[in-house]
């Protein structure tokens, strides 16, 4: 059964879209990430124009993150002050990202730019996460106690900077500059890649800021909702590239998938989850990297000029 997408102007199988939404929702439920990093490449793969894929992917991330955040608010595991500081950085980064995206579009290099961002950021994060979780698994096997990583970060660069602020929920008294910078980076990625940036935000908050792990996921979701929502608005206004029909189908599939995923997630150990997510992130970045390096099957590509 086909559906004609009004903004993308292509006809796609409904069940394919529900399947993509469901599959990504399943993974995001298991790993507690938005899943934008999978949605955007998959949409490109089935023939959705890049602009529409990025903008609509961001809309899907909003839905997935709202669902997760509500759970965390009930449990009190959201540091609103930290989230707000990162948000301010996020808005600046988001604006830079949309501007750069427009420049790339004019230069005809949108696809290359999106691919590069993926390979670079996901390759780096995936590798870091893989190393860390691999060590954690080995430690768990040998029966050694986990290292007290908080004592290391308490004396890190985040403590020495100016404009110190107290973040009670996170248990931190640090400079506002590092959270601002991290927020900026994530805002930029959200606007250019259609991702929420959870896969960057979560490790950054744990390893760079030394935040209490308990509040990291909730705080990351809080900040992601606002940054991706802002990206959706900006794309809708400047590029008119959000496809609501596409978004609704992805969201419906994603919501169902996420619920099943959460159940599966509870049965896995934390470090097992992290290493699986690391492998997934690495696989996506390697796949996209290979597309850049290997000789393409078609050297030519076409784009209608009045099309998003």
């Amino acid at each position: 059964m086909q559906i004609y997408l009004p903004i993308a102007e292509v006809s796609v199988n409904i069940f394919l879209l529900l399947g993509i939404g469901g599959g990504v929702g399943l993974l995001s439920g298991i790993f507690g990430v938005g899943g934008g990093f999978l949605i955007t490449p998959l949409l490109l793969f089935i023939g959705i124009p890049p602009g529409v894929a990025v903008a609509t992917g961001a809309n899907q991330v909003v839905a997935a993150s709202v669902s997760g955040l509500l759970v965390h608010i009930r449990r009190g595991t959201v540091d609103f002050r930290m989230g707000t500081v990162m948000l301010i950085g996020g808005f600046v980064g988001s604006n830079i990202g949309i501007y750069v995206f427009e420049l790339m579009k004019q230069a005809g290099q949108t696809e290359l730019f999106v691919q590069f961002s993926y390979v670079f950021f996901m390759g780096a994060i995936g590798t870091m996460m893989f190393q860390e979780s691999f060590r954690a698994i080995r430690r768990a096997r040998s029966g050694a106690p986990p290292p007290t990583s908080r004592s290391r970060s308490r004396h890190g660069w985040a403590q020495r900077g100016p404009f110190k602020v107290k973040f009670r929920t996170s248990g931190l008294y640090i400079s506002v500059l590092p959270p601002l910078g991290i927020g900026l980076m994530v805002g930029f990625l959200s606007a250019t890649m259609g991702v929420g940036g959870g896969f960057i935000l979560v490790p950054a908050m744990i390893y760079l800021l030394g935040m209490n792990t308990r509040v990291v996921v909730g705080t990351s979701l809080f900040q992601i909702i606002f940054v991706t929502a802002y990206s959706v608005m900006a794309h809708a206004i400047t590029n008119q590239s959000v496809d609501m029909a596409l978004a609704v189908l992805l969201i419906v599939g994603g919501v169902v998938g996420a619920q099943i995923g959460t159940v599966i997630g509870f049965r896995l150990k934390a470090e097992q989850l992290r290493i699986l997510l690391a492998i997934l992130v690495l696989a996506v970045s390697v796949k996209i990297g290979l597309d850049l390096v290997l000789t393409p099957s078609d050297l030519y590509s076409i784009r209608s000029v009045n099309h998003p």
């Binding site: 059964m1 086909q2 559906i3 004609y4 009004p6 903004i7 102007e9 292509v10 006809s11 809309n59 899907q60 909003v62 839905a63 997935a64 993150s65 709202v66 669902s67 997760g68 955040l69 509500l70 759970v71 005809g108 290099q109 696809e111 290359l112 929502a229 959706v232 608005m233 794309h235 809708a236 206004i237 008119q240 959000v242 609501m244 029909a245 978004a247 609704v248 969201i251 419906v252 919501v255 996420a258 619920q259 959460t262 850049l292 390096v293 290997l294 000789t295 393409p296 078609d298 050297l299 030519y300 590509s301 076409i302 784009r303 209608s304 000029v305 009045n306 099309h307």
Partner: protein, 263 residues
Amino acid sequence: MIRALILSLGLLAALPAVAETAAPAVPPPEQVVAGLSENQIAITATFNGSDILVFGAVKRQTPPPDGAPLQVIVTLEGPPNPVDISRKGHVWGIWINTERARVTSAPAFYAIATSGPLNQVLSQTEDLRYKITIPQAIQDTGVASQVPDGEAFINALIRIRKDQGLYVLDQGTVAVEQATLFHTDIRLPANLTEGLYKARIFLTRNGQVVDVHNTDIRVRKMGLERWLYELAKNQPPVYGLLSLVIAIAAGWLASAVFRLAKR
């Protein structure tokens, strides 16, 4: 209606300056009378392509001439757009778009159906005059000045659109009966853009165009598709907010349902 069209065609033919699409010298010994099964196509959410039946007859005052058989060519042309064609090159070990050429106008859709092999049905000079074949339908003036091998870019455009089912050449699919009646089906693909589609029906003998008939099909998004498209273009902030409201509502609903299910 058809009579009025024929009349206006006859009038156009009387003007010598109108050479592009008007009928050749008056009065043509054989005239085409044609119709389409539809002249409105609605793109709704479930739009999955459409078949257009093109049918007609040849009207004569005198018996048909001997010699070469009568042939029919049907073309259907979608709204023209400028198109950017990019070619990847190998730079520092990766493949990136290195060259780009802009075609001033290429139809979003172009189908051509004939009653026989194209090279027998249509002469090259007539093709140039009426712009019937796919390469003729693309206005590629200026491409040669943008890239050294403009023809390769045009060929790539045609190849990609053929693969997408947007450019179609069907030879021998127009059925002609007793040199008088003809009909053919033209398939419109699911990935259609909206606009005015121009249909042309040519009668040829010996590769020469004897008569031509023009008509239009209006392709338009309808219902929900129309509403969303208009909203996205005319009220971007409202559209963006609505997208967000849907996303937030869906997220909240999922969380609420999940909480109920756990109890």
